[in-house]
């Protein structure tokens, strides 16, 4: 009797398998948007998700010197850390037969990516530590070093998505993605 019981259960599971798949257990717990907010840090290229706050390049310089320069170098041109990469320069180097120098200024299609990335992943040793104002300001500083905005231009949720990046039209879809 003891041995028969599990076999019966197994057979029941086999016949029920497709149905079980269709009505998987519903174990997700509902969660309110306000409770997701601390993790909801994605910024869309249209600016969706940008928080309140503001900053200028002039204000951003001190933050850059204190929190970024050690790895990315003075004025973002010569990184001191192998994989950190230059943040400034290289405009014009995408031309055919040149050695490309891909930076925020020469290559990035959207300024919103800068806010998104700096807030989530920088400064390297203490990520997600900058205030919204600080991220706006240091982003403005990097954009200004690249000659894309002026030193006193106010960068905020409204103006950042409006910034026209030099390589905005530089990307085309890969022709062989699966349908």
């Amino acid at each position: 009797m003891f041995t028969l019981k599990p076999i019966a259960v197994c057979i029941a599971m086999l016949t029920l398998a497709p149905a079980a798949q269709a009505q998987a257990p519903q174990l997700g717990q509902p969660i309110a948007p306000a409770d997701i907010a601390p993790w909801d840090i994605s910024i869309g290229p249209d600016g969706a998700g940008l928080p309140p706050g503001r900053g200028t390049a002039i204000e951003g310089e001190a933050i850059y010197v204190a929190k970024c320069q050690a790895c990315h170098g003075e004025k973002g041109e010569r990184p001191n850390v192998a994989l950190a990469g230059a943040l400034v320069g290289g405009i014009g180097t995408l031309a055919p037969d040149k050695t490309p120098i891909k930076t925020v200024g020469s290559f990035w299609p959207y300024a919103t990516t800068l806010f998104d990335y700096v807030r989530r992943a920088m400064p390297f040793q203490d990520t997600k530590s900058l205030t919204a104002d600080e991220v706006y300001a240091v982003s403005a500083y990097i954009l200004n070093l690249n000659g894309i905005i002026g030193p006193n231009d106010v960068i905020d949720a409204h103006s950042l998505p409006e910034v026209r990046m030099p390589n905005r039209d530089g990307f085309i879809p890969f022709p062989r993605n699966p349908k």
Binding site: A20, Q21, A24, P25, Q26, L27, G28, Q29, P30, I31, A32, P33, I36, W39, D40, I41, S42, I43, G44, P45, D46, C71, V81, A82, L83, L94, A95, P96, T99, P100, K102, V104, F107, W108, P109, Y110, T112, T113, D116, Y117, R120, A121, F124, Q125, T127, K128, G170, F171, I172, P173, F174, P175, R176, N177, P178, K179
Partner: protein, 423 residues
Amino acid sequence: MIRRTHPELGDPAAGNGILSRRVFLEGTLVIGATGAGLSCGSAEPLAVQPWMKVPGTGFAGYGQPSPFESKVVKVFPPPPNPPGVGSSRTPLHMLEGMITPSGLHFERSHSGVPEIDPDQHRLVIHGLVKRPLVFTLEALSRYPMQSRIAFIECGGNSLALNAPQAQPLNVAAIHGLLGCSEWTGVRLSTLLDEAGIEPEARWVIAEGADAAAMSRSIPLTKAMDDALLCLYQNGERVRPSNGYPVRLLLPGFEGNMNVKWLRRLKLTAGPAMTKDETSKYTILLKDEKAWQFVFPIEVKSVITRPSPGLALREPGFYEISGLAWSGNGSIRQVDVSADGGRSWAPAALQGPILPKAPVRFRAAWQWNGSPAVLQSRATDDTGMVQPTRAQFAAERGFRGVYHYNAIASWRIDEMGEVSNVYA
């Protein structure tokens, strides 16, 4: 000395000593088509070793490789990079079969390997869904699961072959950002259905719980097709370096999209244009344009043995062994050449041949002691053939960095030394 029971099995199939693959298919090894077998002097008398006489060690909670295998390790550059930025590479030349041992699976991380307490870990699904939901690991572990064997290859694998001169590197240094595991977990479509997808949703932004919060936009079609939330790797919980306690598997898609330490999935109408889908993992072409969202790993193969560092000791019989894979389907054929691509013969494919999984291929080779250039060329079941280096360059040049999949070449010199060359 040499028994040639089936002399035809040793028949040449392509130039410079490539023999018929029937050697493998019919399970009969014929040594020495030219009559030169391995050295045939008498062997030493057999020794009775100490370990044959006294009991060995006791049990261990978690088994380790033999101490004699201590050189079989991942390779990575030494500091001073910030710890955990960059990658460690799988020693492909020291491995066999199709599965990568979990401890040797390559890793690419952007801010080190987080030490995640599984009880504190949460996965949230939100954005364009009817019911935003959060899952504990315990909850995820109660869903029906699926297993599949799949490779993960970093989009930056083999990028060294874009260099104008062939670098003196081995197979791990060039091609070691490739691993294959049996992955087990919950279908992502099951959880997205539970959350209820809004009709405008087209993309899923996936994000890790690491300090870099690595994030990528994934087409909803892929998420609903074969995406898996993996809890297990090769039968045990996913290793921390590979995304413990839960990682995304997008079979066949470039490694970076298979987000590790997965904490959040946000459904959106458009892609987020994250740093790793704009600044990185885009392919700058010969003109000023760059391909963006290059998802599938296209058909590719590499010979792992012989390869640099594994010199041939003397002329004679060698097995050429390697891996072939395609993110678009299954491998249909692998051809091997010993004369730099002038002539080719089909290699034997070791089963099982699975879609989006590597296949081990084998070819029999009689090395006559003169210089040779070994190459492999894979074809997948969509009909796509691995390009030559020249064909690859004609389409996109060498500025693209990512998704290098052209035919690779190992040169064997008269001493049997193997080196990376362009041919």
